[in-house]
């Protein structure tokens, strides 16, 4: 059994680093299968962290632990802490529906609400959270659609159904919908894997812009994508975090042998 290389997260206490989100000792299972075996990761603010690893390594399960979505799976169990700005989302005595709103999530397949218009899709989370002021809603909708580079494409068609646009546009719509609820952190679960290369490129450009103001964590099976968009990368294997560090280091100079074999494409 390979020894886990200590991640830089555990080493320095003197570095004055801003960690927006800290996941400590996460152990997660469903149907009595342990998918995440005790993982600690710290995510820097205004940066993109990528989670890579072969299928079944637990990266998606781990991601879903961060915004309390994992507990919605049947027979799901989880222990550990997830600290957003120092506050544990699991034990802060707030209902999960409040804690989920603090973190936005985008899923693998674009899933806009088919019976709602483009505008209503983005505004859905706002209306849910009691926002009634129409001009504020308009402002947020426009702002979010601009951030995902959709505004110019749909600004005259806001009333059209959410499904009437292309797949890549739908995914950006979903990202706008997630951003509309004003989260500090954005989780992305293989957001471009169902899209064509041009749409993928648009999303990657968008991520590079967004990270100036957001903390982004992206699960991806596409290693080139990880090198293109992320600042930090965590490599997971069979439920363990094998290595974590700056993306450049992980891909060019991995310290763990399994990491090395994975990033060299020896298994997938």
């Amino acid at each position: 059994m390979e020894t886990l290389i200590e991640s830089p997260n555990k080493i320095s206490t003197t570095e004055d680093v801003k960690y927006k989100l800290v996941a400590e000792d996460i152990v997660a299972s469903y149907d009595n299968v342990v998918a995440v075996k005790n993982v600690t990761m710290k995510f820097r603010d205004k940066a993109v962290t990528a989670l890579i690893g072969p299928s079944g390594c637990g990266k998606t399960t781990f991601l879903r632990c961060l915004n309390r979505m994992h507990e919605l799976t049947k027979n799901a169990k989880i222990t550990g802490r997830v600290l957003l700005d120092g506050e544990d989302l699991y034990t802060n005595n707030q209902d999960p529906i409040i804690n989920r709103r603090k973190i936005g999530m985008v899923f693998q397949k674009p899933n806009p609400f088919p019976t709602m218009s483009i505008y209503d899709n983005v505004a859905a989370g706002l209306k849910l959270n009691g926002l009634k002021n129409k001009s504020v809603i308009d402002e947020i909708v426009e702002g979010c659609l601009k951030m995902v580079y959709l505004w110019d494409e749909v600004k005259n068609d806001l009333k059209k159904p959410g499904m009437s646009i292309s797949g890549g546009q739908q995914q950006r719509l979903c990202i706008a919908r997630a951003l509309a609820i004003q989260p500090e952190v954005l989780l992305m679960d293989e957001p471009a894997s169902a899209l064509d290369p041009i749409a993928t490129q648009k999303i990657e450009e968008m991520i590079n812009e967004l990270k100036k103001e957001y903390t982004i964590i992206i699960v991806t099976h596409n290693m080139q994508q990880a090198t293109r968009v992320s600042d930090y990368t965590g490599f997971m294997y069979l439920g363990d975090l094998m290595e974590f560090g700056e993306t450049k280091q992980i891909f060019e100079n991995p310290r763990n042998e399994i990491t090395a074999r994975y990033v060299q494409g020896q298994f997938g």
């Binding site: 979505m69 989920r100 709103r101 899923f107 088919p114």
Partner: protein
């Protein structure tokens, strides 16, 4: 060990088999055609006598020499009882489907679906028996009499001293009978909503009910309507329980005006009168005419329902045209 004929003779047998199967399949077609022909020819005399007036008239006179029949009260009676049954049954069915698809804990799911199945399996005549000797009395004491005493003087629908054999009782029992149909189809339709729709709603911070409201209901709306209309189809065709509970009014008195007065539906008038109807004269022809009307109504309702349900099941993968 199976003896499979490997050298099984000429392809002749294959052909015979295929033809046999095709004939069996078309038997259904033949039956339907025959039924329609029979209904039309059997009712021809009454159409000849009354013309379109058969649909609008409300006479019901079987005296020889003065025979005159009109189906209007019974057609209305069918619609009123079925409509009332829907008004009661559809919300309850949607609630049950919601519970079974989203909220029920694992251990409850099987016993619950067993209960729904058993409700569907109870023969109609037993619903009638139970309604007649048990349920009617509860309805009388807890609903009909209080409503009549309070509102009877001021409103038509609660007027007339209630006895329990009336449109209201028949409709409530009918509602119970269509709940299994509507709720099981609705449940299937709700379960067919892709999970990632729900996840999107959860991600926004929605409660379970809000997830349902945002992601499940809009997606399955037309399917749920289809399920309801299928229930309507069953309600319209339902015979025995209604016959035993609706009070057997005829002629103009059968027009559905008050909930607490006896009424009559298309199926119940046939059940009540066919055995004694004399074959001379037009009585039987009138009853067959009502059968024809019922057939057409039930057919139309069921076809609409199937179109709606099929459309949803087909489109659950792609975009739903709302």
């Amino acid at each position: 060990m199976m003896r499979i004929p490997l050298k099984s003779g000429s392809p002749f047998v294959d052909k015979i088999f295929k033809i046999g199967a095709a004939i069996a399949a078309t038997y259904v077609l033949a039956i339907i055609v025959l039924i329609v022909i029979n209904l039309i020819s059997g009712s021809a005399p009454i159409w000849q006598q009354e013309g379109i007036g058969f649909l609008t008239g409300s006479n019901w006179n079987s005296e020889e020499g003065r025979e005159s029949y009109g189906a209007a009260p019974y057609v209305l009676g069918t619609f009123v009882t079925a409509g009332l049954a829907m008004a009661i049954g559809v919300p309850i069915s949607i609630g049950i489907a919601m519970f079974m698809s989203e909220l029920a804990p694992k251990i409850m799911r099987t016993p619950l679906s067993l209960i729904i199945e058993l409700l569907a399996a109870v023969p109609s005549v037993i619903y009638g028996l139970w309604g007649l000797f048990v349920f009617r009395l509860y309805l009388l004491d807890w609903v009909e009499k209080p409503l009549h005493n309070t509102f009877g003087d001021n409103s038509v629908i609660f007027s007339g001293a209630p006895f329990g054999l009336d449109i209201f009782t028949a409709s409530v029992v009918l509602a119970i009978m269509i709940i299994p149909t509507i709720s099981s189809i609705s449940r299937e339709i709700m379960l067919a909503v892709p999970n990632n729709q729900r996840e999107a709603a959860y991600m926004l911070g929605a409660t379970k009910w809000e997830v349902f409201r945002l992601a499940v209901i809009p997606y399955s709306k037309s399917g749920l309507i289809g399920a309801a209309i299928l229930g309507l189809g069953r309600a319209v065709g339902e015979t025995m329980a209604v016959t035993m509970l609706i009070g057997n009014a005829t002629g103009a008195a059968a027009f559905p005006t008050s909930l607490f007065q006896p009424g009559q539906t298309m199926s119940s008038i046939m059940a009540n009168e066919f055995a004694e109807a004399s074959q001379a004269g037009l009585h039987i022809s009138a009853l067959i005419g009502i059968g024809l009307i019922l057939f057409i109504v039930a057919l139309a309702i069921n076809m609409i329902a199937h179109l709606l349900v099929a459309r949803v099941i087909k489109s659950h993968e792609g975009a739903v045209q709302a």
